[in-house]
C-alpha cells in the first residue's frame, strides 16, 4: 500500500488544456474520490497516475519517489475500467489470473490458483470461474473486473466509474460491497465518478474537479455542508441546492424576485450575493415565518419534494415521508437559519 502524491500536474491536448495544475494526495489506506462532470479531467488524471498518459508538467510520487519515468507495468497500480476490460476470449479464472501471469511477476501456477480462489471467494464469484466472460451479466462482469484488480495487491487501485454502467439496484449493492471491501482490506483507492451520491457515500475524502481545476478537497461532510463555491454546492445533493440572487438591506436579506426576506446572519455580506438553501433546510410548519404556493409535489416514498412558489422563484423543499398537502395550497415554512450558504457574485463561499 502506498501514499500517492500529485503535484501541479498539467496536461494539454491539441486545442484544450485538460488539466491546469492539479495537486492532491491520496493517503495510505484512503478511499479518495475524484468527483466532477464529464470533461472535468477526472479520467485523464487517473490515466496519468497509471502511466497510460504522460503529463506535460508536474510530478507524481508514490511513497515519496517520482514514478514519472516508469511504465504502467512498473508502477504497480490496478486499473478498473468503466467497461470492456475483461478479455472475452478467456474464462473468468484466466481473466483473474492474467495479471499474476504477467512476465514481470511470474508467480507459480499453484500460487496463482490459490490467490484467484481467495479473491473469487471475497467477491462471491467462485461459481463463475470456468465461464467465458462474454456470458456474464453486467454486475458479474464488474465484480470480475474488481477481482482482477484486487488479486494482485497493487500499491493503489484506480477505478474509472466502475459502477456507472450498472442498473440502479446493482449499483447500490456493489457500492456497499466495494466500500466494505476497501475498509476491511485497508487498500488505497482512487475512485473517479460523476455521480455525487457515489462520492458522498463511499469517500473518505473527495476532490471536486471542474474544467481541469480542483474546486475543493475535503471530507464528504465538508463538501456537503461547506461547499467552497456554487459549483460544488450544485454538484452535490439531490434535489439540488436552491440558489437565489439576494441583496442585503438594513440587516435583512431579500431574495430577488420574491417576497422572501429574513434577518441577516452575522456575516460580513456584500450588498449583492447568492443565497443557497439546501432543500432539507426548508421545513414546512403550520406557523412558519414564510409562505408560498405549492406548485408540485414529488413523493419519493422515503421523502417528498415540494416545489413552493414565491413570487417568480420556486423553492424546492425536501420533507420526510409523504404529505397530504395539495397542489395550489398555501404552504408556510421556516428556514434553518444556521445552515444557509452565502456566495459572492463570483460564486465563492462567504464564511
Amino acid at each position: 500500500m502506498s501514499h500517492v502524491e500529485l503535484s501541479n500536474i498539467v496536461k494539454r491536448f491539441p486545442g484544450v488544456t485538460a488539466l491546469k495544475g492539479i495537486s492532491f494526495d491520496v493517503r495510505d489506506g484512503e478511499f479518495f474520490v475524484l468527483l466532477g462532470p464529464t470533461g472535468a479531467g477526472k479520467t485523464t488524471t487517473l490515466r496519468i497516475i497509471a502511466g497510460l498518459t504522460k503529463q506535460d508538467e508536474g510530478t507524481i510520487r508514490f511513497d515519496g519517489e517520482s514514478v514519472d519515468a516508469l511504465t504502467p507495468a512498473e508502477r504497480d497500480t490496478a486499473f478498473v475500467f468503466q467497461q470492456y476490460s475483461l478479455y472475452p476470449t478467456m474464462t473468468v479464472f484466466d481473466n483473474l489470473a492474467f495479471p499474476l501471469r504477467a512476465p514481470s511477476r511470474r508467480l507459480p501456477e499453484d500460487e496463482i490458483r490459490k490467490r484467484v480462489e481467495v479473491t473469487a471467494e471475497k467477491l462471491r464469484i467462485s461459481h463463475l470461474l470456468d465461464r467465458k466472460t462474454a456470458h456474464l451479466s453486467g454486475g458479474e462482469m464488474q465484480r470480475v473486473s474488481i477481482g482482477r484488480a484486487i488479486v494482485r495487491e497493487p500499491r493503489i487501485f484506480l477505478m474509472d466509474e466502475p459502477l456507472s454502467n450498472l442498473d440502479a439496484k446493482l449499483r447500490e449493492a456493489l457500492r456497499v460491497e466495494l466500500q466494505h471491501l476497501q475498509k476491511v482490506e485497508g487498500s488505497t483507492t482512487l475512485f473517479v465518478t460523476h455521480d455525487q451520491i457515489e462520492a458522498l457515500t463511499m469517500a473518505d475524502r473527495i476532490a471536486v474537479l471542474d474544467l481541469g481545476r480542483i474546486r475543493q478537497i475535503g471530507t464528504p461532510e465538508d463538501i456537503y455542508d461547506r461547499p467552497a463555491d456554487t459549483f460544488v454546492a450544485q454538484l452535490v445533493g439531490t434535489p439540488r441546492i436552491n440558489l437565489f440572487p439576494a441583496r442585503r438591506e438594513n440587516n435583512h436579506l431579500y431574495i430577488e424576485g420574491s417576497e422572501l426576506h429574513l434577518p441577516a446572519p452575522t456575516l460580513d455580506l456584500p450588498e449583492r450575493f447568492t443565497l443557497g438553501i439546501r432543500p432539507e433546510d426548508i421545513t414546512p410548519s403550520p406557523d412558519g415565518a414564510f409562505a408560498g404556493t405549492l406548485q408540485i409535489t414529488e413523493p419519493l416514498g422515503v421523502e417528498t419534494i415540494l416545489h413552493i412558489r414565491s413570487g417568480e422563484r420556486t423553492l424546492q423543499s425536501l420533507i420526510p415521508g409523504m404529505t397530504d398537502l395539495r397542489i395550489g395550497d398555501t404552504v408556510r415554512f421556516d428556514l434553518v437559519q444556521d445552515r444557509l450558504h452565502c456566495f459572492d457574485l463570483d460564486g465563492k463561499r462567504i464564511n
Partner: protein
C-alpha cells in the same frame, strides 16, 4: 381527453409470453406510470396501446371506441420516444410543425398552434436551431412540443428521460409533471426508475414477469406493497425483508438472539394467515428503524454511507442478511460496531415467504 381501457390484452412473440392477459383502466386526465425492470413487458404494453405493436388477443378501448386493430395514426395519441426521434435535417420549428403538416392543417393554424406549445414549454429561443445542436433536455422539450402540438387524446411516453443526465432528468421530471397538471391530458408513462414513477405518477402499475404485480398510488405501493417483488423494487434501497419464524405474538429472526414482538394489531392477521405459527418475512422501510440502546434487534455495521442530509447504515443481522437503516447524521458508527434498533409499529409489514404475498390485516377481518 380520453379514457384508455385494456381488456385481457395479451402479447406473445412465438413461444415467448411478453405480456400475460392484463386488465387496466386509465381514467381521463390521469398520469399512469408503467414501472418495472427491463423485460417486464411495460414497453410492449405501451406499444400495444399506441398500435405500434399488434395485440395477440384482447381489446383496447379509447373512450369506449374499439381501437384494437386501428393503425397508430388513426388512434389520436401521441408517442414520445426515449431517443427524442427528432428529424435532424430540419429546424426545431419544422420539427414541431411536422405532425400538423402531415394532417394538412392551414398555415395560420400551424403557426398559431406551434406558438402555443412553444410558449408553454418556453422554447421560443430554440425555434430556428437544428435539433442536433441542442442539449438533451432541450431536445426532449422539443419532442414534447411535437407531441403536444397535435392535441392528442392521450400521451404515451417511453422512458422520455432515460437518455438524459441525472441533472436534467430531475428538472425535466418536474417540468413534465407541471405540464400534466396544466394540461390534464391522459398520460401513460413507461419507466424502469422507481423514483421517477413515484415522483410523477397519479397511479403506478408495477409490472414484472409479463404481468401486473400491483396497481396503486405512490403511497400505496410504497407503504402497502402487495408482494415481495414490489416491496423490494420500490424505494432506494428497497424494503428490508428479514426472515424469521412467527409464533405466539413473536417473530424469532434468523441468526443471533433477535426476537421481535409483533404489534398487537397485527397478531390476529398473522395468526390467521400462518395458521397459528410459521415462517414469515418482516418488512420495514429503512426510515422505519429506530436506533436505540434497548432495541430488540441487533446487528453489526457492514458499511455506512453519507447520503446528504442523513446516513444510511448497512447492518448485518446474520451472516447473509444485510438490512438498511436510515439514521440521523449525528449517529456515528464504525464498521464492525454493534447497533440495536426497533421498528416503528405503524410501518411494519409482513409477507408470507412461500407465496411471497403480503399478509394484510384487512383479509383477517
Amino acid at each position: 381527453m380520453a379514457t384508455i381501457e385494456l381488456q385481457k390484452v395479451e402479447k406473445r412473440f412465438g413461444d415467448f409470453q411478453a405480456v400475460k392477459p392484463m386488465d387496466l383502466t386509465i381514467h381521463d386526465g390521469e398520469f399512469v406510470v408503467l414501472l418495472g425492470p427491463s423485460g417486464c413487458g411495460k414497453t410492449t404494453t405501451l406499444r400495444m396501446i399506441s398500435g405500434l405493436e399488434a395485440v395477440t388477443s384482447g381489446t383496447i378501448l379509447l373512450d369506449g371506441r374499439n381501437v384494437t386493430w386501428l393503425h397508430p395514426s388513426e388512434r389520436d395519441i401521441a408517442f414520445v420516444f426515449q431517443l427524442y426521434a427528432l428529424y435532424p435535417h430540419i429546424s426545431v420549428r419544422d420539427n414541431i410543425a411536422f405532425p400538423l403538416r402531415a394532417q394538412g392543417e392551414s398555415k395560420e393554424t400551424i403557426e398559431k398552434r406551434v406558438k402555443e406549445v412553444v410558449d408553454l414549454l418556453q422554447i421560443g429561443h430554440l425555434l430556428d436551431a437544428r435539433p442536433g445542436k441542442l442539449s438533451g433536455g432541450d431536445q426532449q422539450r422539443v419532442a414534447l412540443a411535437r407531441a403536444l402540438v397535435r392535441r392528442p387524446a392521450a400521451f404515451l411516453m417511453d422512458e422520455p428521460l432515460g437518455a438524459l443526465d441525472a441533472d436534467f432528468r430531475e428538472s425535466m421530471r418536474a417540468e413534465i409533471k407541471q405540464l400534466h397538471i396544466d394540461q390534464h391530458a391522459t398520460t401513460v408513462y413507461v419507466t424502469h426508475d422507481q423514483v421517477e414513477a413515484m415522483a410523477m405518477g397519479d397511479r403506478i402499475v408495477v409490472m414484472s414477469d409479463a404481468e401486473i404485480q400491483q396497481i396503486g398510488t405512490p403511497s400505496e405501493v410504497y407503504y402497502k406493497p402487495a408482494n415481495v417483488f414490489v416491496a423490494r423494487f420500490i424505494g432506494s434501497p428497497g424494503m428490508n425483508l428479514a426472515r424469521g419464524h412467527y409464533s405466539e405474538g413473536r417473530v424469532r429472526l434468523k441468526g443471533q438472539n433477535n426476537v421481535y414482538a409483533v404489534p398487537d394489531d397485527w397478531q390476529q392477521a398473522l395468526g390467521k394467515a400462518l395458521g397459528g405459527s410459521g415462517d414469515v418475512l418482516v418488512g420495514f422501510r429503512p426510515e422505519a428503524a429506530r436506533i436505540s440502546a434497548d432495541g430488540p434487534i441487533a446487528g453489526e455495521v457492514y458499511a455506512t454511507e453519507l447520503q446528504g442530509a442523513y446516513v444510511m447504515l448497512y447492518i448485518n443481522i446474520n451472516e447473509d442478511e444485510i438490512i438498511h437503516i436510515r439514521a440521523e447524521r449525528i449517529h456515528q458508527h464504525q464498521i464492525g460496531d454493534t447497533v440495536r434498533f426497533d421498528i416503528d409499529p405503524r410501518m411494519v409489514r409482513f409477507f408470507d415467504p412461500a407465496s411471497e404475498r403480503a399478509i394484510t390485516r384487512e383479509a383477517a377481518q
